[in-house]
Amino acid sequence: MSIGHALLGLLEGGPRHGYDLKRSYDERFGQDRPLHYGQVYSTLSRLLKNGLVTEAGVEAGDGPERKRYAITDAGVTDVERWLSTPEKPEPYLQNTLYAKVVLALLSGRSATEVLDAQRAAHLTTMRELTKRKVDGDLADQLICDFALFHLEADLRWLELTAARLDQLAVEVTR
């Protein structure tokens, strides 16, 4: 996730100070990985240096920094460009699970056990996400569904590999 673009996107709603931005980011996108203050301020200073945000006065009050930031025209253009550029699809070609299966077969260990243990671990995580999803709001549902669909893809691969283990064993030990 590009934190810079996310903060810029949040600033499009109006000028805000760093703490406020962090809170808003964590609430929407950072449930599992909240931002550190350091990240927020270093990102903001980079955006400032690149002319994508500008200082918009200082708010009176306690706390570490009450400087307010506003998005610039260049910042808006940058957000637009980011939103309209598709994310590069992950090729998923570096696969630890595949390596484990092959090494189990090469060493005469049980590849079925590797696959079974992984299936159980995946399903445990999927159960936790499902629980969170059914107890949550629409944002939770969409965030959890994204994870669930990806884990499901892994599981389908595990099943397919389990069905092809005999064939794979012949090929890797040839």
Partner: protein, 224 residues
């Protein structure tokens, strides 16, 4: 302590060994997903432990009674009173309204129409399909029909619900809604659910999984 326990099940159809020494154990109130690739024997396992299909070899014990030793009428009475069933499709009687479909098992057990329909209406409401009570199954959507089928499976307050690919004919949103309503209702009434599925996201509504491959099952709870 298991409510339903099957041990060493074998079942062949001609030369095909559908079950080749399968074991499974279900405790009261738990939701167990039976997973495995197509043709692995998971549906045959469900049919054997539900008393629909007699195994060639092996035993099935439900609440201390041996299903494999019962005669047909005793087994079908057990199925009607203790078990509920949800299949992929084709289980509702097309000539009856949805309400009459749900009320059917209660009527077969001798309950008066008024009482049976009152209880059925409650279940339709719990499954959020009370709006289709007076429609025939053919007039409802796939998701609604499946919720009616779940209501019918639950109306007799069964101890075990057997669900064979209950979301197989539904899109993912409707499928998940059915799973949520089915597992929530089962947990509230204390019914166990044996859920046959090949879909991991459906299996994620369970408490644990039993994997079937080549007619053999891997049930970690069975050994305990």
């Amino acid at each position: 302590m298991s409510l339903l326990k099957a041990e060493g099940l074998f079942k062949s159809f001609g030369k095909t060994h559908a079950l080749d020494g399968a074991d499974i154990s279900i405790r009261a109130g738990e939701v167990v997903a039976v997973m495995g690739p197509s043709g692995s024997g998971k549906s045959t396992l469900l049919h054997c432990i539900a008393g629909i299909l007699p195994p060639d070899k092996g035993t099935v014990h439900y609440s201390g009674q041996d299903l494999t030793a019962m005669n047909d009428s005793k087994r079908s009475e057990l199925r009607r009173t203790e078990f509920g069933f949800v299949f992929q499709f084709g289980q509702l009687v097309p000539e009856l309204t949805c309400l009459e479909n749900v009320a059917l098992p209660l009527r077969l057990s001798g309950m008066k129409r008024k009482d049976a329909e009152r209880a059925s209406r409650d279940w339709l409401a719990r499954l959020e399909v009370d709006g289709v009570a007076d429609q025939r199954p053919g007039e409802t959507s796939g998701g609604q029909g499946q919720r009616v089928a779940v209501a019918r499976a639950l109306v007799t307050r069964p101890k075990v619900i057997f669900a064979d690919e209950p979301t197989g004919a539904l899109d993912s949103l409707n499928g998940e809604r059915v799973m949520h309503l089915l597992t929530t209702a089962a947990r509230e009434t204390g019914a166990a659910v044996v859920l046959v599925t090949h879909e991991p996201r459906v299996a994620a509504y369970s408490d644990r999984e039993v994997v079937v491959r080549d007619g053999r099952s891997r049930d970690v709870e069975f050994a305990r």
